[in-house]
């Protein structure tokens, strides 16, 4: 027992006094201690801003959404499909430029959207016809979190952000019934009807994650999951925006969306 205690005390003493007994070591070159200019040059060498590949694509989710949502409507599938594509038109072009091999991406999207919606019920209360047309763009950055795993330098699991902006025109024709003001909704006292038209712009931010997978040669499939943070429209005069091109329907401060893309990649360098 005494021997074990002695060993423990000796070991503790050795641990506590070792730094005091250590001989001073000569300073070795340390990258953290390099001048700032040399550090920046080392970082730039590591990052490599040389473009690696350009990927061009389009969003397929509009076509797929129409087909998938058709069985869920109140009418037949065919009528729902016809109604969806007659009242909604949307297309989006997307491009990303990879640099630092397959690690970083600069992303830009451009799109056009046109939406028609209406309530045309027999009660004539709150009936409205709404039409929204405009273009949008998004720019942002993606980071491939599995750039070391996907050694083929093709597939990517991405995390990133976007800044979006839409310019659009919205128009609404609505009917109001107000007996105290002579709009009773009868032939003798017709309902009040008015058309409002406004030109607006809207901006928002997105946090995104997505997957890009090479399916055949330079052809890619991918999806993007977006958390959209609602922004603000400029100078709303008579009508709040309901549908915003690129953002979608405004109902809350945050919106989730999912889109599927088809891409074609153009390699810009032969060196991997």
């Amino acid at each position: 027992m005494k021997l074990r205690n002695s060993i423990i005390i000796l070991a503790l003493f050795t641990c506590l006094t070792t730094p005091l007994q250590a001989q001073p070591q000569p300073l070795l070159p340390d990258t953290l201690r390099l001048p700032l200019g040399q550090q920046l040059r080392a970082w730039a060498r590591d990052i490599s801003f040389q473009p690696y590949a350009l990927r061009l694509g389009t969003d397929l989710s509009y076509w797929l959404n129409g087909a998938v949502s058709a069985p869920f409507g109140r009418r037949s599938i065919g009528e729902n499909l016809k109604s969806f594509y007659a009242n909604t038109l949307r297309f989006e072009l997307t491009a990303d430029l990879a640099f630092n091999r397959n690690k970083h991406f600069i992303v830009a999207d451009w799109g056009y959207a046109s939406t028609k919606r209406e309530r045309n019920a027999e009660d004539n209360l709150r009936n409205i016809s709404y039409h929204n047309t405009g273009t949008y763009w998004r720019v942002g950055w993606d980071y491939n979190v599995l750039h070391k795993t996907f050694t083929d330098r093709q597939s990517a699991l991405l995390l990133g952000f976007r800044y979006g902006r839409a310019n659009f025109e919205q128009q609404a024709t609505y009917i109001a019934i107000s007996t105290p003001w002579g709009f009773g909704g009868t032939p003798a006292s017709p309902a009040f009807s008015e058309t409002i038209s406004e030109q607006l712009s809207y901006r928002w931010w997105e946090m995104v994650t997505g997957l890009r997978v090479a399916v055949w040669r330079e052809l890619y499939l991918g999806y993007t999951f977006r958390i959209k943070l609602a922004g603000k429209a400029n100078e709303v005069n008579r009508m709040l925006p309901n549908e915003i091109p690129g953002f979608g329907t405004v109902r809350s401060n945050m919106k989730l969306s999912f889109s599927y893309h088809l891409y074609y990649r153009i390699p810009l360098t032969k060196r991997l």
Binding site: V68, R117, A176, T179, F192, L221, N242
Partner: protein
């Protein structure tokens, strides 16, 4: 082992099930009928309306001898000793004319003709194809008033049973 394309498509198909249709479950918090209350000067005790009638600027009677004739506000949510004034949906101003004895006036006092003109901003909000739209009234102002003084108590009209929008003093 599943190929990458198989993984992508199985993920897409599973997420497509998230889409569904919707019905109108929306209930607007907004009203386009400001609630007005009447007071004697220096008092904050609301007085019961004692008018013979109240008309809109179009000459249509909305109140007669203690009965509200036109209002979208249900009797459960109507405040006691108050009047709901339906605003003109076609314009940004509305006029109301009050005929008869002022609230709280002695029974033998002479009938009067008072006018209240309101100005406001109409904001249209499309809700959904099932629900239609709602009209919001913002920035309520009093343009003309033949009472001694008037006060805007709430500029934004949130339909609540305990909300008074306009106070009129005489």
């Amino acid at each position: 082992m599943m190929k990458p394309i198989g993984k992508v498509f199985s993920l897409i198909i599973s997420l497509l099930g998230l889409f569904a249709c919707e019905d109108c479950i929306f209930s607007s918090r907004y009203s386009n009928e400001p609630i007005v209350r009447f007071y004697r000067k220096g008092s904050m005790r609301a007085l019961a309306p004692s008018f013979d009638s109240v008309q809109t600027g179009k000459g249509i009677t909305i109140y007669r001898s203690g009965r509200i004739l036109y209002s979208s506000i249900t009797s459960e949510t109507t405040l006691p000793n108050s009047l709901a004034l339906p605003l003109d949906p076609s314009r940004d101003t509305s006029a109301f004319i009050f005929f008869g004895r002022r609230p709280g006036a002695p029974a033998n006092s002479l009938p009067q003709r008072d006018t209240l003109i309101l100005r406001y901003r109409r904001i249209l909000n499309f809700i959904s194809p099932d629900c239609g739209y709602e009209q919001r009234i913002e920035n309520l102002q009093i343009l003309k008033n033949t009472y001694d003084s008037a006060q805007i108590a709430a500029r934004n009209f949130i339909l609540r049973s305990d909300t008074v929008h306009i106070r009129l003093f005489w």
